[in-house]
């Protein structure tokens, strides 16, 4: 008879139908985790569930959730059986910067989907992890949050908020069994960036991001720039004095 402790630990993927979410799921399943896939559209989540179940041979469950619907959070969390050992959050949307500037409602949607809603959900998950005594939260944030730029500051500011939230959460639980990791992928070749011209040396594949996410879990990393070159790039960008920076077109 299999003891209950023989069941594999579970990894929850919030935003499981994204390219990065799917890559993270594959890496974690390969490392022995059962998967809990959450996403907004039932048919799309089902498709990934079926694929990952065949591909990984691990138990995979699906959970339909619109993260921006905060009223649904409690029921969603209750429905997770077991409470996962790892939660990876790949939720967020860039929107269209020009539209975000014109239409405050659009900007509010970007901010809600990228910062406030995920932060709310991860905060609640962290509380449950703390009550249990252990768990790992991985937030996929962005280098766009390291400094606001004219071309994407609505999305960037939301990611800045998300990064600060993760940093605070990590600080709060330091020395306990709860760990919080922040992943900053830089440019990633995904459906979200399809059609954009991306510089090769600064661009990672979703697979590479997935590996970083798994490594952050396994080695309890704090802040991970998926491509190390980004740490240097952002160090320089943050060091530019504001009177100079404001005139740059980056």
């Amino acid at each position: 008879m299999a003891d209950e402790t023989d069941a594999p630990p579970a990894a929850l993927i919030l935003g499981a139908t994204s390219d990065i979410g799917r890559a993270a799921a594959q890496q974690l399943a390969a490392a022995g985790y059962a998967l809990q896939l959450a996403g907004r559209r039932a048919d799309a989540v089902q498709r990934e569930r079926d694929d990952l179940a065949v591909r990984t041979g691990q138990p995979v469950t699906m959970h339909v959730l619109d993260v921006t619907d905060s009223a649904a959070h409690a029921a969603f969390l209750e429905g997770l059986d077991p409470l996962p050992e790892v939660a990876v959050c790949v939720v967020g949307t860039m929107g269209d910067q020009a539209e975000n500037e014109r239409d405050p409602a659009k900007a509010a949607q970007v901010i809600a989907a990228t910062y406030t809603a995920p932060a709310q959900l991860l905060g609640e998950l962290a509380n449950r992890f703390a009550a249990r005594g252990h768990g790992t939260i991985v937030g996929v944030s962005s280098v766009a949050g390291d400094r606001g730029r004219a071309t994407n500051y609505v999305y960037g500011s939301a990611k800045a908020g998300f990064t600060a939230f993760l940093s605070g959460l990590r600080n709060r639980f330091a020395g306990t069994g709860v760990h919080v990791a922040t992943i900053k992928p830089g440019f990633v070749r995904t459906r979200m960036t399809e059609g954009l011209k991306l510089p090769g040396l600064l661009t990672a594949s979703p697979d590479r991001v997935g590996r970083s996410i798994h490594e952050a879990v396994a080695k309890r990393r704090d802040v991970v720039y998926v491509l190390p070159v980004w740490r240097l790039v952002m160090l320089i960008i943050r060091a530019i004095p504001e009177p100079v920076f404001k005139r740059l077109r980056l």
Binding site: A44, R47, E48, D50, D51, V54, R55, G57, R191
Partner: protein
């Protein structure tokens, strides 16, 4: 964008659209007057080119289900064979049929009804398909050997001309290891090669490399390779712990187009002579253990090997002749090729069994495949080969073809009228079209 098949001839400016989920194919069909689905672009000629709408299925690459009781795998059409191997070999399952490259999609394998080294025993890929979903102008149709059987038979080997294949189910076969037991026999001439291939029918996998430039008395000299899946007990002790490693996906890329002159009659002739001599010296021994990757996909190790032929591209010629006409027909083909002094490193002779679909390539007999760099005189030579093939009741393989003519095509495929009728009934005629279907007036 400029698109071509694997032979890089012909090149055509095509509007390439993505089909990121199978459902998107229906919208694509509704919005297009004429389109063709495209997999990984491994058909050699013009089969997956449509100037106004070429629909890339590479994004529709999800597995949908696997039944370990029956071995039946269901997946979307864009799933790559390499991915099926990567996922299933470690669990002890192998695809029922694999062509000479693993860099093909499931949809492409069905549309071309690909055959492998086991065709004489197990038939083509289509023979193992239990069900498929086809997007037509009238909606998605499920077909199998029992339901919509005619549409099924038209779609197997139908070159994408009956609709867009969305999903398919097919049976994998159990294997104990990722290794093959393989042995080589040398045959000094064509008659010996054909006899050796026929004698080897009990082996699951057989194929011959043939020196297409050797003239009589060595005309048709060949190295016959035959193999089977190795059992666990046959592995040396050191490999029994991990009996099913997969291919590593690394390969050497040909970084630039070779100058056209590098590949001429002289270099090919000397290579072939040396290759045969080496193979003959090594042959005759007992079976050797080799991994499935070099056994089935030797050229996948050289990524972009199509660039070896230079920037003008190349054409692959593959024909099959019925059993009774094979000896005379193959001799005539080899004589014509040797006389032209044009030949290739990769020439393959193989015994086939009967085919599955209306336009499936295989018939019981012998198939010869070889490639020619595109240059002056090549097409005249191939026209002559077409004539010889027609005289002997044979046909050419549409997945390899880039240049044959409607008359030859129709003569080689007697079930063409049936195919046309079923295609018209499905509302597919005039909607699903490729440069190939227009060229051959399918």
């Amino acid at each position: 964008m400029m698109l071509s098949g694997w032979g890089r001839y012909p090149v055509l400016d095509c509007r390439l659209h993505a089909c990121p989920v199978p459902d998107a194919a229906e919208d694509a069909i509704a919005g297009a007057t004429s389109l063709i689905a495209r997999g990984n672009g491994r058909a050699y000629g013009d089969a997956a080119l449509n100037p106004t709408h070429t629909l890339s299925m590479l994004g529709s690459d999800r597995f949908a289900g696997f039944d370990p009781e029956t071995g039946v795998l269901t997946c979307e059409a864009g799933v790559m064979l390499s991915e099926i191997l990567r996922v299933f070999v470690p669990r002890g399952w192998f695809p029922p049929v694999v062509p000479g490259t693993k860099l093909v999609t499931v949809g492409g394998m069905i549309a071309a009804d690909v055959h492998g080294k086991n065709h004489h025993r197990d038939g083509s890929f289509g023979a193992h398909v239990t069900q498929l979903e086809l997007a037509t102008p009238d909606g998605v149709v499920t077909c199998s050997p029992d339901t919509n059987a005619e549409l099924f038979a038209a779609t197997i080997g139908g070159m994408g001309l009956t609709g867009v294949i969305l999903r398919a189910s097919f049976r994998l076969v159990p294997v104990e290891t990722a290794y093959m037991m393989s042995e080589t026999r040398a045959a000094g001439d064509l008659a010996t090669a054909m006899a050796l291939l026929a004698e080897s029918d009990a082996w699951p996998y057989t194929v011959a490399w043939i020196d297409c430039l050797a003239s009589a008395p060595a005309r048709g000299r060949s190295l016959i390779h035959r193999g089977r899946h190795a059992t666990h007990a046959e592995l040396p002790r050191g490999r029994r712990e991990a009996p099913r490693p997969v291919h590593d996906g690394k390969g050497v890329r040909v970084p630039f187009d070779m100058p056209g002159a590098a590949l001429n009659g002289l270099t090919v002739r000397s290579f072939n002579a040396a290759y045969y001599a080496r193979g003959r010296a090594a042959s005759g021994g007992g079976p050797e253990l080799v991994h499935y990757d070099p056994f089935f996909f030797p050229l996948d190790g050289i990524l972009a090997w199509n660039r070896l032929y230079g920037r003008w591209g190349f054409v692959q010629y593959q024909c099959v002749l019925p059993d009774t006409a094979s000896a005379a027909g193959l001799a005539a083909l080899l004589d014509r090729i040797a006389a032209a002094g044009q030949g290739s490193f990769l020439a393959v002779l193989k015994r086939l069994g009967p085919g599955s679909g209306f336009l499936s390539f295989p018939i019981a007999g012998y198939t010869l495949a070889l490639d020619f760099p595109v240059r002056a005189g090549t097409f005249a030579l191939l026209d002559d080969l077409d004539t010889i093939v027609a005289q002997h009741g044979g046909r050419v393989y549409l997945a390899k073809d880039a240049r044959t003519v409607p008359r030859r095509f129709a003569a080689g495929y007697p079930e063409l009228d049936r195919f046309r009728r079923v295609r018209a009934q499905a509302g597919a005629a005039g909607r699903f079209e490729s440069l190939l279907s227009r060229r051959l007036e399918v």
